[in-house]
Symmetry: C2
């Protein structure tokens, strides 16, 4: 198909591979290239050609949308502003505190050649953000609750693995059922992140490690674990390899509000994801479609999921959507 | 505030009253008038002046958005096209099968004076439609399930009340827990509307009525009750007045799909509403805000919730939304 949307990926880790998988499910989109900092010969994709990131500018007229699949800590702060000068980009920048600054930087680059920089796409930020906005707009007299999990937290798993004596480890964030039940009931409790979640760790020890000491060091680690109800389970490498090799995640955004003095209304959005990176990738791909449509209409600058009308995400025609989904 | 959005209501029943209540919660919007077919003196609002519908055109330059609160069967098919010629309108037209035809008719009127006709706003059609679209766009390899209830169905309650011997009656649509559990698990069963719901009726009999006959007539009523698992409970007028005087509703939109061959992802949107008309009204008011913003940008024609970027629904500034909700 000649009218397919031409997408390329920068960075081929779990997220990049997820984008490649997602595009296989979207026949109106074609993946024309993967760009990597690694030696292209060392990168094995499903069926997409790999090129060196050094040559990416040679492709600026052959790519409609570039999906950045690097990390928010080191990659995106550089790559977002760099590539938004020459490409329409979509990324999953998720450092909440620094999003306004990142937005500014990407926007400045976008203005140079009228490109679109669609930032912070995924599920949180992303679909959860949209639902926080919808909830507040529909029920202005209310409270919004975001719960995460059950899911594997990359940052907390990394923190465990830095503890002396730990050979392998993962951490699952678990939302509190009590808190969710209370919020769903229409009560509007005051809940800290700690009240809403517990943390469960699965750790493989080095042969000479002191289990008590490792457990204590994890549980008292400030910010990461210290204020939380944390459980540490020691398991064998075999069990670890068998049961903790996937990246499930999910969560809930609940808006509880009153439409009049004694009338409660509760809106809930929930995700149950077998693979966090594959779902994030699926969202990136749908927003790549929207970005292309917005670019065709002459829009440019930094954008977020808030700026995207639902209709732009679909491959179906407006009339088909009204008939089938409205 | 002089920069408030000026809204007026056509029709003051449960929905119109809900819009008045919702606007009290939205300080950036002011309700300038209620228009009614009834004698204005006979209509008691909370604190909004009432005018005869006959004089509505006198107000066409004093109203930013007109919210039509009439019924989809008899009122909106006439009022939508009639008023969209002179006002930006928002309505909750919900006759799914006839939406494409209604869209066309409203669109034609909108073109005459470049007005916006925002049709079929509410929760189904409305928020549920948006979630059906999001679900399909994010997980193209999947199935969407819409469940309604637990909630009072006006149409089925009306049908019960037409049965000989029935003094008063209501019908609640109840979603099947088994079906919801199955869908949430990531299995993708084939389910008819009948498989997904049961119907529960509460009936007050006339003194001389034959309960067995009434029950049988309800349960065998084609389309309304016949294919469904229906329960009929006979109660006293006192119990009816005490326990069945509110209009709760709600439901679920669940998208279950695969991002790759063995990876399930489940998205769920759920509403639990103490008052169906008040929630629908809250949605109408948020979309009135969006309609006003779109009109200021020069947009016109018939629109649906699919055309509205989330950002347009909020009274907050773009930068505030990025900081607080993204």
């Amino acid at each position: 198909m000649n009218n397919q949307i031409k997408v390329a990926i920068v960075g081929y880790g779990n997220l990049g591979r997820g984008v490649e998988l997602s595009i296989l499910k979207n026949p109106d989109i074609s993946l024309v290239a993967v760009f990597s900092r690694r030696d292209p010969k060392s990168v094995t994709t499903i069926n997409t050609p790999v090129f060196s990131l050094d040559n990416i500018l040679d492709y600026k007229d052959k790519v409609d949308v570039l999906i950045l699949c690097g990390g928010s800590k080191d990659d995106l702060p550089i790559q977002g502003p760099l590539f938004a000068e020459h490409f329409n980009i979509v990324d999953s920048y998720d450092n909440h505190a620094k999003i306004p600054e990142y937005f500014e930087n990407v926007d400045k680059s976008c203005q140079k050649n009228k490109k679109i920089g669609m930032i912070s796409v995924g599920w949180d930020p992303g679909m959860f953000s949209i639902n926080r906005l919808y909830g507040e707009a529909l029920l202005p007299d209310g409270d919004t609750y975001t719960f995460w999990g059950k899911g594997l937290s990359q940052g907390h798993s990394d923190a465990i693995r830095r503890v002396n004596g730990v050979k392998a480890g993962v951490q699952y964030t678990i939302p509190s059922n009590d808190a969710i039940t209370k919020v769903r009931s229409g009560v509007r409790p005051t809940l800290s992140t700690k009240d809403k979640h517990t943390r469960e760790c699965f750790v493989v020890l080095n042969d000479d490690a002191d289990a008590k000491k490792v457990e204590n060091e994890i549980k008292t680690m400030p910010n990461y674990f210290e204020p939380y109800d944390t459980t540490v389970n020691f398991i064998s490498q075999e069990e670890f390899d068998k049961n903790h090799n996937t990246m499930p995640h999910g969560g809930f955004v609940i808006r509880s509000g009153k439409s009049s003095d004694s009338v409660n209304q509760v809106i809930e959005y929930a995700l149950k994801l077998d693979s966090n990176p594959e779902f994030t990738a699926s969202v990136l791909v749908a927003y790549a479609r929207a970005t292309h449509k917005m670019a065709l209409k002459g829009e440019f600058g930094a954008k977020t999921v808030f700026d995207v009308a639902p209709i732009l995400l679909s491959s179906k025609s407006p009339i088909q959507l009204v008939k089938e989904l409205l």
